[in-house]
Structure formats: C-alpha cells, structure tokens
C-alpha cells in the first residue's frame, strides 16, 4: 500500500483547484457589484446635472 503519490497529488490538486475557483468566483462577483455601484454613481451625476439645467 506504500507510496500512493498519485493519490496524494490528486487530492492536493483538487484542494487548490477548489479554493482557486472559489476565489475567482468571489473576485468576479465583487467586480460585478463594483461595476453596478459605478454605474449608479454615473446616473446620479447625470441626474444632478439635469437638475441644474
């Protein structure tokens, strides 16, 4: 039963792929939220501009 290097590598590879994928999904969701916030701010600036005129 000794060694099992292939199984060890498979397990560690899975761990880092899983963690990496989750981090990527967090990053993408964060970017989407920041983009929405930026768009809202632009709309607010436009609204304020139209109120002035």
């Amino acid at each position: 039963m000794k060694s099992g290097m292939g199984y060890l590598l498979a397990a560690y590879l899975f761990i880092w792929v899983a963690l990496g994928s989750y981090l990527l999904s967090l990053g993408l969701r964060q970017r989407r939220a920041e983009t929405l916030l930026r768009e809202v701010r632009d709309r607010l600036v436009r609204l304020a501009g139209s109120a002035d005129t």
Partner: protein, 235 residues
Amino acid sequence: MSRKLAPWQALASLLALVSVAAALVLALRWAPTERTMGDVQRIFYFHVPSAWVAFLCFFLVFAGSVGTLVGGRRGWDILALSAAEVGVLFCTIVLVTGPIWARPAWGIWWTWDARLTSTLMLWLTYVAYLLLRHYAADARRRATLAAVVGILGFLDVPIVYFSIRWWRTQHPQPVIMGGKGSGLAPDMALTFLVCLVAVTLLGAALLLQRIRLEYLRDEAYAADLATSDLEADRT
C-alpha cells in the same frame, strides 16, 4: 461596513498566505512518512483541518440563523449566508479528498458507513440551504426560511463528529483526543497543528471576503433602487 472589514480581511489573507506556505512545506516535505500507508497519509494534514473549518462555518451559520430569527438584523443573515458558502467549500474538499485517500488505504472509494453518510447529508443540507437562498424570491421570507434550515442543519454536525464513537465504521477512530492508543508522533502532531492554523486562517480570510462582498452588493442594490426612484420622479 465593506470598507471597515477591508483591513481585517487583508490581515487574515496575509497570515493565511504565509501559514499555508509553511503548512505545505511541512505536510509534503518535512513530516515523516507514515509506516503503513506511505505518502498518501499526507492527505490527512489538509483533510482533517478542512473538516474542522467546515464545522466552524456551520456553527457560524447556526449562530447567524439564531440572530436572524431573534434580532432580524441583516448582519446576522449575511454572516449565515457567507459561512454557509465557505462551509460547503470546505465540506466539498473533505468529501473529495476522503475517497481519494480511502481508495489506496481501504481498497474502496466509498462506503455507506455512519461517518461518510452523515458527512454527505451535511453537505447536501447546506447545498439545499444555498439553493433556497438563491431561488426564494421574497428577501424577508428567504432570510427566515434559510435561518430555520441553518438551525436544523447544524443538528447533523454532532452526529458527524460522534458517529465514529457511536457506531462501528470503516472510517478510523479519532487520532486526536481519541483516548488510549490514539495520538500522533511529535513531528506529525506539529505539522498537523500548523496545517490546522493555516486552514483556519484561510477559512477566515475567505469568510471575511465573502461578508465584504455581500455588504458591497447590498450597497449597490440599495443605491440602484434609490436612483431608479429619483429617475422615475424626474420623468
């Protein structure tokens, strides 16, 4: 709130990065090779800490769910949601690395013993929790329903933990705090401790990041709604 949490999240991420690097070196290079199982036993150093972090996260789901039902503040709900997501991630790691270790150690990938089955049930419960949160339309009802599932789901955690003491299982008896004849060699114990701290810090960093994201989303949706109202008033 998202900005307030930023320095803590940065600190947790930095500590996690350093400790995970040390944990990897210890687990893959420094720790002695186990006599019976060989190198495959090194899966243990990340398998068990992942289970610990999953349990910890599910406890936070429980606490957040109780807080949601009692106090009703959004912060509790955000804690529960974020901890459920991170908990499912670490529980998935446990459920995948376990069979990869079981195949060379037991000769089988999976068996329906109490520990493995109750862990799978735990995973399914929190996946259902996340699906419920994703598909339920009304925000207030969603938080209440999810809180009930979050509290009931936590009942499985002690069953998973004690299953190997209560029933005869294929899964080995506890190595740490398992009573007479259990325990680790000093070098293995030190490696395990470092891995436990590293994976806990990694879990904390991910949890803080997820909490920050939820506050940011709340901020964005609230601002979007308010701006839409203003635009509607103008037209």
